[in-house]
């Protein structure tokens, strides 16, 4: 397949960017139009939380989709999608810090230590933080591609912590969080399978080499 022209990719980034901002705009619009129901803070918390997980999963599906479909240009959108996961995650965290805890540090530390779903959620956000900070071209250069990529595998753990955070906070009926868990499991198993295959191949190659040199 022919790669997409540079111009086209650049042009495409604008609508994709606006689409990614959509959930935040809808939430804002509803906020202005009395559309957030009886407990607006609850709606803001849930919506931003769901979109954080959703963007994490979309980001994680870029590589499998790209490999399986030969749509190689998808990689050009991965950083934007990942940063949107961080954006919604930060809004989600701000909702907690500001609207739920009103910047009461003591209460928050108590929560993080005592409530395991908050511990998991905080972990998920803190794992995203270095990824967002090193998302620039300069940081890739400074770190070197391999090390950068190693660091950015933290997203697996961030997404897993996010799903666990969701599972641990529901009272009953795990169906919703488990849907996210199932998609994440598929995306991570894909990588595991690829990794296993490459290891087996490498071993075989090594064995052949040794056999040849013996």
């Amino acid at each position: 397949m022919k790669p997409l022209p540079e111009k086209f990719i650049r042009a495409l980034k604008v609508p994709v960017f606006l689409l990614c901002l959509g959930p935040a705009f809808v939430l804002t619009w509803k906020g202005f139009h009395d559309g957030l129901g009886a407990n607006p803070i609850d709606v803001i918390t849930r919506t931003t939380g769901r979109w954080t997980l959703t963007f994490l999963l979309i980001t994680l599906s870029v590589t499998p989709v790209r490999k399986l479909s030969s749509l190689t240009w998808l990689i050009r959108f991965r950083r934007m999608l990942g940063l949107f996961a961080f954006f919604y995650g930060s809004l989600h965290l701000m909702t907690y810090v500001w609207l739920d805890k009103f910047f009461n540090v003591h209460e928050m530390l108590h929560d993080i230590a005592k409530r395991r779903f908050i511990t998991a959620g905080m972990t998920a956000w803190f794992l995203m933080l270095p990824l967002a900070l090193t998302s620039t071209k300069g940081w890739i250069r400074r770190m070197g591609g391999k090390r950068w990529q190693k660091l950015h595998r933290l997203i697996y753990f961030s997404a897993a912590a996010g799903v666990v955070h969701f599972i641990w906070l529901v009272k009953a009926d795990l169906r919703r969080p488990l849907k996210y868990g199932a998609v994440l499991a598929i995306l991570l198993s894909y990588r595991l399978v690829i990794w296993l295959i490459s290891r087996i191949r490498a071993r075989r190659a090594l064995a052949t080499q040794q056999a040849a040199s013996a």
Binding site: I9, G31, K137, R141, D173
Partner: protein, 322 residues
């Protein structure tokens, strides 16, 4: 595993020139969205057109005001009926109102059995005439950490118990919700809760004048979403004790099972009294968000009814008997 051939993610591919612009736009967008979100919320708080008291339901007549009512401003009808846990319909608080619109509340009978002189079935219309209907404006505290002030219409549970005529040896009263999977979508699902929903009270709790059977809201017949035609309201306990759409009341001498206790015994006890000092294992119960208010308020012991009900639990360790 992810280490690819260099041509796959050449660094020139990763950051094209346009990305600088994108990033700048991203930061601006993020800032604008955050500000707009905060602004929108602020406006809703301060300029919102709220508290349109709903009209249109069937009016109940002969309601007398009760001295046991709270003096706080009631939550709007819209919020009471659109933000509500009713797991038989949905685990989402916004959905039960729509999903319960066609729920049938007539004909409706309530079976009385167990340790009673004579088991019987009472018709809902007869039940509604057992005692004068009273308006009881009560604080309502959900175990999830939100609260409302609700103008129930009902009568003391003690009046219904008197009509049920239990044996003196009965120590507990157990309640059961209707099983109607063709009308209650989640009763067809597995993995939500065990159906039917069951609840229970100790006899002295049930006989307390604050415990009521509700049949109305805002002077009208109880909306389906709030547990029509008959629900329990025990204002010093967490909201889930207020079992809805009751079809059976049984008297026993042993503590009856309760749905949420069976589901997660470490999280929900039989008593489930509102207690700011006893945290839910996963979240604090020290404060609550009153629907319609911006900042949280402290949760009161027994939901502010300590003067009336604390004596029911004297000598009990409320950390253990949660």
């Amino acid at each position: 595993m992810l280490i690819k051939k260099p041509d796959d993610i050449a660094s020139s591919e990763i950051t094209p020139k346009s990305a600088y612009l994108t990033r700048r736009k991203f930061i601006a967008g993020a800032a604008a969205a955050s500000a707009a979100l905060a602004g929108g919320f602020y406006l809703r708080q301060h300029l919102g057109t709220e508290d349109i008291v709903h009209a249109g339901g069937t009016k109940l007549s002969g309601i007398v005001k009760s001295p046991l009512s709270a003096s706080e401003a009631p939550t709007s009808f819209k919020d009471i009926t659109n933000y509500n846990n009713y797991y038989e319909f949905s685990t989402d608080k916004y959905e039960p109102n729509g999903l319960s619109q066609n729920f049938r509340t007539r004909p409706w009978t309530v079976a009385i059995d167990g340790m009673v002189k004579k088991p019987k079935k009472l018709d809902i219309d007869a039940i509604m005439k057992l005692a004068p209907l009273e308006e009881r404006i009560y604080r309502h505290r959900c175990v999830e950490g939100w609260s409302m002030v609700i103008p129930w219409v009902g009568f003391p549970l003690s009046a219904l118990i008197k009509a049920a005529d239990p044996l003196a040896s009965a120590k507990f009263v157990a309640f059961q919700t209707v099983v109607a999977p063709e009308q209650m979508p989640n009763q067809k699902q597995s993995g939500v809760l065990d159906w039917p929903y069951v609840e229970g009270l100790r006899m002295d709790e049930a006989m307390h004048p604050l415990a009521i059977m509700a049949v109305g809201l805002y002077d009208e017949v109880l909306p389906n979403v709030d547990g029509a035609p008959l629900r329990l309201v025990v204002p010093w306990k967490y909201g889930f004790k207020g079992i809805k759409a009751i079809v059976k009341i049984s008297f026993t001498d042993s503590m009856p099972p309760t749905t949420w206790n069976r589901m997660a015994p470490g999280e929900y006890g039989f008593y489930s009294n509102v207690n700011p000092q006893k945290d839910h294992p996963r979240w604090s119960q020290a404060s609550e968000r009153r629907i319609g208010e911006f900042r949280k308020r402290p949760t009161l012991m027994f939901n502010g009814y300590a003067d009336q009900v604390a004596s029911l639990y004297s000598g009990m360790d409320l950390q253990k008997n949660y």
